[in-house]
Symmetry: C2
């Protein structure tokens, strides 16, 4: 971070909506709040990255990391999307989507069945990261996005590994969150029906870490994994 409290420009509290980030349906479920967007992104580490190849869409599940107002994804320098981004000028148009499922909403009517969820959709142009320092920080961030604190407790990439890894950057600029929370929305005429209705909470769990059989003697489970 640069500057002082006086000269530093604070980002707006919300992303500016654009034509493609304003949904045609359920606009009340959309949000552009920066803190909410960051929170949804920070709880995830897998995104679905969409791009166009030979005129057709491709949706690739991949790891990502957020560093401030930038997202990073990485992959082999030989992978098709990353090659495409490196070669394209000014980069590769992408849509990066992150989704958390929070609950199953079972209504009395089939029509009102739904899912409680929180998602973020980022539109933009992914660009190859060529600055070695930014690339190194992005790779650390990709590890820390999965397990905070882990990057410092692993061997950093060496020159050969860095050269084999491509990193793409996507700025958080054209961004929206979409979410559904709460209970069942049956119409009043259905409330007397005998079907059970309600919400089944959905969550993610982490099991007991399984150590690699070849761990160096005396290697303890690190504190940052003890919460699991």
């Amino acid at each position: 971070m640069q500057g002082t409290a006086q000269t530093q420009s604070q980002p707006a509290t919300a992303y500016a909506p654009t034509d493609r980030t304003v949904p045609t349906r359920s606009p009340n479920r959309a949000s552009y709040d920066r803190e909410l967007v960051h929170a949804i992104l920070d709880e995830a580490y897998v995104c679905h990255l969409g791009f166009v190849r030979d005129g057709a869409p491709v949706v690739l599940p991949t790891l990502f990391a957020r560093v401030g107002e930038r997202l990073y994804v990485h992959g082999s320098t030989g992978s098709r999307p990353l090659r495409a981004a490196g070669q394209a000028d000014p980069g590769l148009p992408v849509c990066l989507t992150v989704t958390h499922v929070d609950g199953l909403v079972l209504a009395r009517s089939a029509f009102h069945h739904s899912i409680n969820y929180r998602s973020v959709m980022v539109h933009g142009v992914a660009r190859d990261v060529t600055d070695p320092e930014e690339k190194r920080l992005a790779l650390d961030a990709l590890v820390d996005q999965v397990v905070p604190g882990r990057a410092a407790d692993s061997r950093p990439a060496d020159k050969k590994e860095l050269a084999a890894t491509a990193v793409l950057r996507l700025d958080l600029d054209e961004v929206s969150a979409k979410l559904r929370t709460g209970g069942v929305n049956d119409g009043p005429e259905d409330l007397g029906l005998p079907h059970w209705a309600g919400v089944v909470p959905v969550g993610k769990t982490y099991g007991t870490p399984i150590p690699d059989p070849g761990l160096a003697p005396g290697t303890e489970l690190p504190d940052y994994l003890k919460g699991n």
Copy 2:
């Protein structure tokens, strides 16, 4: 199912690979096995649907269902992708991806950090379902994909609701699975490093169902939710 054991044509045990379903990286992680693809799809109910709008990719999280060799997604007739599919001839080119995260793979080297996952990617053209009977079956399947047995225990869509709902069909034809399983793949030179290495299992959990406060008196939790 039609025909007898003699005349029935069994689908091949694997989907035929195509240019775009053969990955450029880690081809050993790809599979075209039909049973494996079905199992990965059937364990999910949320997919990420990619399509192209105004030349740019869009990735939309949405519910889906599998019925045999067909996938269905639905939405409001007013939603942009569904309108586009209804208007386009012969339909809307899409890529539908389903991903399960099974574990965090923490290697001694940052480079070999990975995720255990199972994913399915379906390429094809999504078509508007116009046959009323197919549409009704697809809507039941969409409810049952989330909670098996639920469609029969809810009020079916009425004419107005059916008219407000668009259903798209995507045939399972150009399909691949990709998965990573197992442990850490550190190089031999890193095995003596003091960093903990291993796999943290990741799973999905379902909490205690929360009944709608306005349930009709005497409405019991149905058996199909008692496993939660």
